[in-house]
Symmetry: C2
Subunit: 346 residues, 2 copies
């Protein structure tokens, strides 16, 4: 199968996306990979597989690669003798953060009729924004940690008891996240978060909380990964998560009882279906007194959470043949015809 | 000012968008208008003002107009001697329904750095989907009518007492909407709604409910329209709403007391700010026992609700100079550099 990986983007996680994508070279063993880079100023480049090293990007040398144009039906290489299409079977959106996870890439792919693996538009917006994720989870009866919401212009007053965790609502990879132990640290933590976003959520920080990650998708049936209990320190900071994005070997399943595993899987399915059709997502859950709480949805997890699946490549093939189809709308101009008739203009 | 109106789209409201846009020729008296048509198969065409009649579209003659390409920085006319930009100051998104109101056009304009008047991506998704509008309004303390939610695959059982109104969650202009007086009519109404969408909401239908419409935007200050009490029959069906989209003369304000007017305005402001920055929206409210309920948000109202404003054109000029700016993200490759250093590859 020919798979075009989209990566980069105008995103704080641009570099993480490059790391995720380079990892894919090892993960996809049978496929023919194409690499479509979205530069930070949002130009598209077709990168040859042999050039796919991190240095190509950090040195700026990617600018010497072929620039391509997005049009109806796909990407095209413009030339003197017309535009030549870049051919592939499916695009895989690996742009983390803005552009990739916020719904823009989903919009572009849908609008220009390119088959793609990634959350669709609505799924992106609801999972990219941590506040909307709360609304969405609550509506499904999936528990989440209690929270407060603060905008940049709001008074900096919170009622959640310390310690708390402050998160910009629209970022991943722990960017702008702080743990605040007491009031004296609040202001600085909010300054940091508001560097990245106009809105934050504040949640109680639960020391030593059990965390479990479940990834999966729906093809012709559920394809659920093993459940992982990530090893972590206080929380994963950007550099540690960064390394986390280059994981390519399968990990061991968490040691847990069947009842809890089932609970986690049921919550995953509630979140996933039907909104996330066409995507491989990872949900991170907390377990507190045997109750399962959604911590966050990773709509485009680092290195696609490949390390949680037994045969990731084959699953991607199945997913590629079970993508949601956009409804075809026929425009027949019957209303305009009838108005014209009524006005005697037809 | 040079204003490019985007209209058409792959949408059930494609024809309504054409009517809305033709109306704009009368509404904008001082501006230089450009017309960018999105055909139902999502090609872009530049339409000359003299050709802007409904017949151009219904006859298919628009296909003889200049096709243009969307790229970084704007729309371009491709030619033998390179691509020539289509120049304008601001784009005005007048695509009703899918593509325009669902967030795709907002994504495209943002991604390709085109200044535009319309709700942004998140605002589009939250207002295009009537279920998400409920979540959003509730989170702001804006009351909405109680509802039930049904998916195509759910059992067709409702608990709301009859009569009820059935609405596809993702359509406007009353498409697919039915009033159901008793259980025997339910199945047919759901069949109709599910023709257009995979999900519906069911609300009590309140006979003779008072409805008030408030439009507005925020520029350097609030710019609120008069409040209109729309004259209506049971509800406006597609054809009546269609005619409604061509309104171009100012209407009279509803006769109402100041307290109620203030309540409506306060609810409008809560909905609008800050999510809808950059857009002119219309909110339709119900008033039941002196309480104000949000019925729906029209993120791109018919003919931009121009008929509710005293000087619509000047307001658009002010809005065009107060558009939300996307945060600039600098990518400096410092993490990749540091990994390379650690690996001795730098």
């Amino acid at each position: 199968m020919n798979i075009a990986i989209l990566f980069g983007g105008s995103s704080y996680e641009h570099e993480i996306s490059i790391v995720s994508t380079i990892t894919m070279k090892k993960v996809f063993k049978k496929s023919n990979l194409l690499f479509i880079f979205v530069s930070s100023d949002r130009q598209f480049y077709l990168i040859d597989v042999k050039d796919m090293t991190s240095k190509l990007f950090s040195s700026g040398d990617y600018k010497k690669c072929k620039q391509i144009t997005l049009k109806k039906g796909g990407f095209f290489i413009d030339g003197w003798f017309g535009a030549k299409p870049v051919t592939f079977d499916v695009a895989l959106n690996l742009i983390h953060g803005r552009d990739g996870e916020d719904g823009k890439m989903a919009s572009l792919m849908t609008f220009f009729s390119i088959p793609f693996i990634s959350p669709r538009l609505e799924a992106s917006v609801l999972s990219y924004n941590k506040l909307y994720t709360k609304f969405f989870a609550e509506s499904l009866g999936v528990k989440t940690v209690p929270y407060e919401y603060l905008s940049k212009t709001d008074e900096r007053k919170i009622t959640t008891p310390y310690p708390v965790i402050i998160k910009p609502v629209r970022l991943g990879s722990s960017i702008g996240v702080s743990i605040v132990k007491n009031e004296s640290e609040l202001d600085y933590a909010l300054d940091v978060a508001f560097e990245f976003d106009t809105d934050v959520i504040v949640e109680p920080f639960i020391v030593g909380v059990k965390e479990f990650n479940q990834a999966g998708c729906y093809t012709n049936d559920w394809e659920l990964s093993i459940v992982e209990e990530p090893h972590k320190e206080e929380f994963l900071d950007f550099e540690k998560k960064y390394m986390d994005f280059s994981r390519d070997s399968q990990v061991l399943a968490a040691d847990m009882n069947d009842a809890l595993k089932t609970k986690i899987q049921e919550n995953f399915k509630k979140i996933y279906h039907p909104l996330f059709g066409g995507a491989v997502i990872r949900c991170d859950f907390f377990v507190i007194e045997d109750e399962v709480y959604l911590n966050e949805i990773n709509p485009i997890p680092g290195s696609m959470a490949n390390y949680l699946f037994e045969d990731f490549e084959e699953m991607i093939y199945r997913l590629a043949s079970h993508l949601p189809k956009e409804k075809h709308i026929t425009v027949d101009y019957q209303y305009i015809h009838s108005i014209q008739s009524a006005k005697g203009k037809a």
